[in-house]
C-alpha cells in the first residue's frame, strides 16, 4: 500500500495531492532557507497565523458579492493580504517601537489569529457559512483537491522557486552581512521585504495542504536540517529543497495509503525524522560526529600527557591513560615503558622543549599561537627553523628509565 502510494499508484486524486505536497515542500524548504540564515525563522509563524482573518473576510466578501465564497484563489488572495498587513505590523513594531522582534511576532500572531477566530465564528452564524469548511485551513485538508487547485499550487510554487533563484545573491549578502550590504548601496529593507514576500507566498500556497499552524514547520525544519550537512549557502538551498520535497512527497503518500492519517501533521513528522537523522548522523556538525571528535581529542591529550610523564620518569595513575599506553604498546601492564614507549616519550619531550623555545621567542610569535600541547612541531615549522630551534635547546639530560 505504501509502495503503491510512493509510486503514485493510488489513483488520480492521491497522485495529485502527493505531487502537490512534494512541490510545496521544495518551495517551503528553499523559501525558508534565507529566513533561517537571517535568524528570523519565527517571523513565518506570525505570517502564517495572520492569514486567517484574511481568509475569513474574503469568504464574507465573496458571499456578500453574491459568489460561492469557496473560491480557492479568492480565499488565498484574502489570506495573502492580511498576512502582508501582519508582516508590516511586525516590521513596524520592531523598528519603530522599543519592542523586540519576538514580542512583535507574538503580538501579531496572537491578535491576528484571535481576530480570525472571531471572523470564523461569525461565518458559522451566516446562513451560507455552515458548510464553508474554513476550519480546514487551520490544519489543512487534501480531501477533494481539484486539478485546478493543484495547478494553482504548482504555478505558485514554481514562481516562488524562480524568485529565490533570481534573488539569491542579494538575499545571501543581507543574510550574512547586512551592514556591508547597506554600505555597498543595497536597499536592505527592500531585500528583506522580498524575502518575506517569498515566505508569504509559500505560506499562502501551503494553507490548503498543511494548514496555517503547521506550514511554519515546512519553512523552518528543512533549512535547519540541510544546515547540518554543509557550510555553503547554495548547498543549504539545495538540501532544504530536497528535505522539504521528500517530506511533502513521502508524507502525502503515507497519508494517502493509511486511513485516518491527516496530511499536514504527517508531513511535519517526516521532516522531523529527517531532522533527527541529520542532528545525530551528519558529518562534522552531527552529535555522533561531535562525540567521536571529542573522544579522539581526549585520547590524544591523554596519550601525550602519558608520554610526557613517562619521559620525566613519573608514575601514571590515570586509568584511561594507562589503558591507551598499554594498547599502543608503549607501556607494560606493570607501568614500565617499552622500548617503543621510551622512543615516543623522548620524542614528545623533545617536542615540548622545542615548543618552549618557540614560545619564548618573539620571532616565532605566529607559530607560538598554534601551541595547544598536542601539535607536532614538525607540522608547524620548516626543517631550517627546526635546526635553529634545536641549536638553542638546553644541553641533553639523561632520561631515567
Amino acid at each position: 500500500m505504501i509502495w503503491d502510494a510512493l509510486l503514485l499508484g493510488l489513483g488520480y486524486n492521491a497522485t495529485l495531492v502527493t505531487l502537490g505536497a512534494g512541490i510545496l515542500g521544495i518551495a517551503g524548504g528553499v523559501g525558508g532557507s534565507f529566513l533561517f540564515l537571517r535568524k528570523r525563522a519565527l517571523v513565518s509563524d506570525a505570517v502564517s497565523h495572520a492569514t486567517l482573518p484574511g481568509v475569513g473576510l474574503a469568504f464574507v466578501l465573496m458571499v456578500a458579492m453574491g459568489g460561492d465564497g469557496r473560491n480557492l484563489i479568492g480565499l488565498l488572495a484574502g489570506g495573502a493580504v492580511s498576512a502582508a498587513i501582519g508582516l508590516l505590523c511586525v516590521n513596524w513594531l520592531s523598528t519603530r517601537t522599543r519592542l523586540a522582534e519576538d514580542a512583535a511576532i507574538g503580538a501579531v500572531l496572537s491578535v491576528f489569529f484571535g481576530f480570525g477566530i472571531v471572523v470564523l465564528t461569525y461565518i458559522q452564524t451566516m446562513s451560507s457559512g455552515r458548510q464553508a469548511g474554513l476550519e480546514s485551513f487551520l490544519l489543512g485538508s487534501t480531501a477533494g483537491m481539484l486539478q485546478s487547485d493543484a495547478l494553482v499550487l504548482v504555478l505558485a510554487a514554481a514562481l516562488t522557486l524562480a524568485l529565490v533563484l533570481i534573488l539569491r545573491r542579494p538575499l545571501t549578502l543581507v543574510a550574512f552581512d547586512p551592514d556591508f550590504a547597506l554600505a555597498t548601496g543595497r536597499n536592505v529593507n527592500r531585500i528583506d521585504l522580498a524575502m518575506m514576500g517569498i515566505v508569504l507566498a509559500v505560506t499562502v500556497v501551503g494553507l490548503k495542504i498543511v494548514g496555517l499552524i503547521l506550514i511554519v514547520a515546512l519553512l523552518i525544519i528543512p533549512p535547519v536540517t540541510a544546515r547540518f550537512w554543509t557550510e555553503r549557502v547554495d548547498r543549504v538551498l539545495l538540501g532544504a529543497g530536497i528535505v522539504g520535497g521528500l517530506s511533502g512527497y513521502v508524507g502525502a503518500a503515507i497519508s494517502a495509503a493509511v486511513p485516518d492519517v491527516p496530511t499536514g501533521p504527517i508531513i511535519v513528522l517526516v521532516s522531523f525524522a529527517l531532522f533527527m537523522i541529520s542532528l545525530l548522523c551528519a558529518p562534522g556538525r552531527g552529535v555522533v560526529s561531535s562525540v567521536v571528535q571529542h573522544r579522539q581529542y581526549q585520547r590524544r591529550v591523554h596519550l601525550r600527557q602519558g608520554l610526557l610523564a613517562l619521559a620525566q620518569g613519573q608514575p601514571i595513575y590515570e586509568r584511561l591513560t594507562q589503558r591507551l599506553m598499554e594498547r599502543g604498546g608503549l607501556m607494560r601492564g606493570d607501568g614500565v615503558a617499552t622500548d617503543k614507549g621510551r622512543a615516543h616519550a623522548a620524542q614528545a619531550l623533545l617536542d615540548e622543549a622545542r615548543w618552549q623555545v618557540v614560545r619564548s621567542d618573539q620571532a616565532y610569535a605566529a607559530a607560538a599561537l598554534r601551541y595547544d600541547g598536542l601539535t607536532e612541531m614538525s607540522s608547524v615549522l620548516t626543517p631550517d627553523q627546526l635546526r635553529d630551534i634545536d641549536a638553542r635547546l638546553p644541553a641533553p639530560q639523561g632520561v631515567t628509565p
Binding site: F36, A103, V111, G114, V118, V261, L279, V287
Partner: protein, 301 residues
C-alpha cells in the same frame, strides 16, 4: 441587564477571563524582558499533545491527568528546545520552531488516529476553547454569591484558575528581587550568587502552569495573546518594572472585560443575532491595546 441574568450567564466567564489574562500577563512581563516572549507561544502549542497523551494513557477526560500531561509536555518542549539548541548549535528561534510544530503535529496525529470522537476533545476546542459555555446555572442573582448551595455548583474552572493566579502571583512576589535582578543583568545576578539557570526554568514552569490551567477554559490562542500583548503594551507605557506590571494587569483586565462584552453583545448592537468567539475577541482587544500603546505610549521609543 439585571443581576438575575448577569450572575448566572456572564459573571463566571468574565471572572475566568480576568484570571486567565492576569495569570498569563504576570509571568509574561518577565518573559518579554528576557526576550523569551515566544516561549509562551511554544508552550501553548505543545499543550495539545500533552492532553492527548494524558487522555490516551488514562482514558479519562479528567482535569488532573490532563493538567499533568500538559505540564509534562511543556517541560519536554523546553528541554527539547534547549537540547536541540545546544547539540545542533542552532539559533533559539529555529530550535523552537522545530520543536513546537513537531509536537503539535504529533498531537493532531494522535488525536485523529485514536478514537476520541466520543469525548469532547478536538483541535478547534484546543485552539479557542469555549469561554461562553462556562455558565453558572445555579445562580439566581447577586445573592447567590453568599449561597453555599449555589456556590457548590460553580464551574470548576473558576476556582482552578483563581488557584493558578495565586500560584503565579506568589511566585513572583516571593522571588521578586532575584527575578528582577536576573532579568535585567544576568551576569551581575550570577556574581551575587543567584542561581539564574534554575530561576529561569522556574519562571518557564510557572508560565506553563498558568498556560495549562487557562488552556482548558479558554483555549491556547488567548493564552499566547495574554502572555505577550498586555506586557508589550505596558512596556510602551513606562520604564519602571513595578509600573509596567501594574499597567499589564490593568491592560489584561481591560482586554478580558471589553473582549467578553464585545463578543457577547457587539454583534447584537450591529444587528446580528449570534455572539462571536469570546477568546478571539479578547485577543483582538488586547491587540488594539498594543496598537494604542505603540502609537501614543509615553515610553514607546
Amino acid at each position: 441587564m439585571t443581576g438575575s441574568e448577569f450572575v448566572p450567564l456572564s459573571l463566571v466567564p468574565m471572572l475566568i477571563g480576568i484570571c486567565v489574562a492576569v495569570a498569563c500577563a504576570l509571568p509574561g512581563n518577565f518573559l518579554l524582558l528576557r526576550r523569551q516572549a515566544l516561549i509562551g507561544d511554544a508552550i501553548s502549542h505543545v499543550v495539545l499533545p500533552g492532553i492527548v497523551v494524558a487522555f490516551l494513557v488514562t482514558g479519562l477526560v479528567a482535569s488532573v491527568p490532563m493538567l499533568l500531561g500538559a505540564a509534562g509536555a511543556a517541560l519536554v518542549a523546553v528541554a527539547a528546545i534547549e537540547a536541540i539548541r545546544r547539540l545542533g548549535k542552532i539559533e533559539p528561534g529555529a530550535a523552537m520552531g522545530v520543536v513546537f510544530t513537531t509536537m503539535f503535529a504529533g498531537g493532531v496525529l494522535l488525536l485523529e488516529m485514536s478514537d476520541t470522537s466520543s469525548v469532547h476533545l478536538d483541535v478547534e476546542h484546543a485552539l479557542y476553547g469555549n469561554l461562553e459555555s462556562l455558565i453558572w446555572l445555579d445562580a439566581t442573582g447577586w445573592s447567590s454569591l453568599w449561597d453555599p448551595q449555589a456556590l457548590a455548583y460553580l464551574p470548576v474552572e473558576l476556582p482552578r484558575m483563581v488557584g493558578a493566579l495565586v500560584v503565579v502571583a506568589l511566585f513572583i512576589a516571593v522571588f521578586w528581587r532575584p527575578l528582577k535582578i536576573s532579568t535585567f543583568d544576568e551576569g551581575f545576578a550570577r556574581t551575587m550568587g543567584l542561581r539564574t539557570g534554575p530561576l529561569g526554568l522556574a519562571l518557564v514552569v510557572v508560565a506553563a502552569v498558568a498556560a495549562v490551567a487557562a488552556f482548558d477554559a479558554v483555549g491556547s490562542i488567548i493564552v499566547i495573546a495574554m502572555f505577550i500583548c498586555p506586557p508589550a503594551a505596558a512596556r510602551l507605557m513606562t520604564n519602571r518594572l513595578e509600573t509596567q506590571i501594574a499597567w499589564s494587569v490593568l491592560f489584561a483586565t481591560l482586554a478580558a472585560v471589553i473582549g467578553y462584552v464585545l463578543a457577547g453583545y457587539g454583534p447584537l448592537w450591529l444587528g446580528a443575532q449570534d455572539s462571536v468567539s469570546a477568546a478571539g475577541m479578547i485577543a483582538t482587544v488586547s491587540g488594539v491595546l498594543v496598537a494604542g500603546a505603540a502609537l501614543v505610549g509615553p515610553a514607546r521609543k
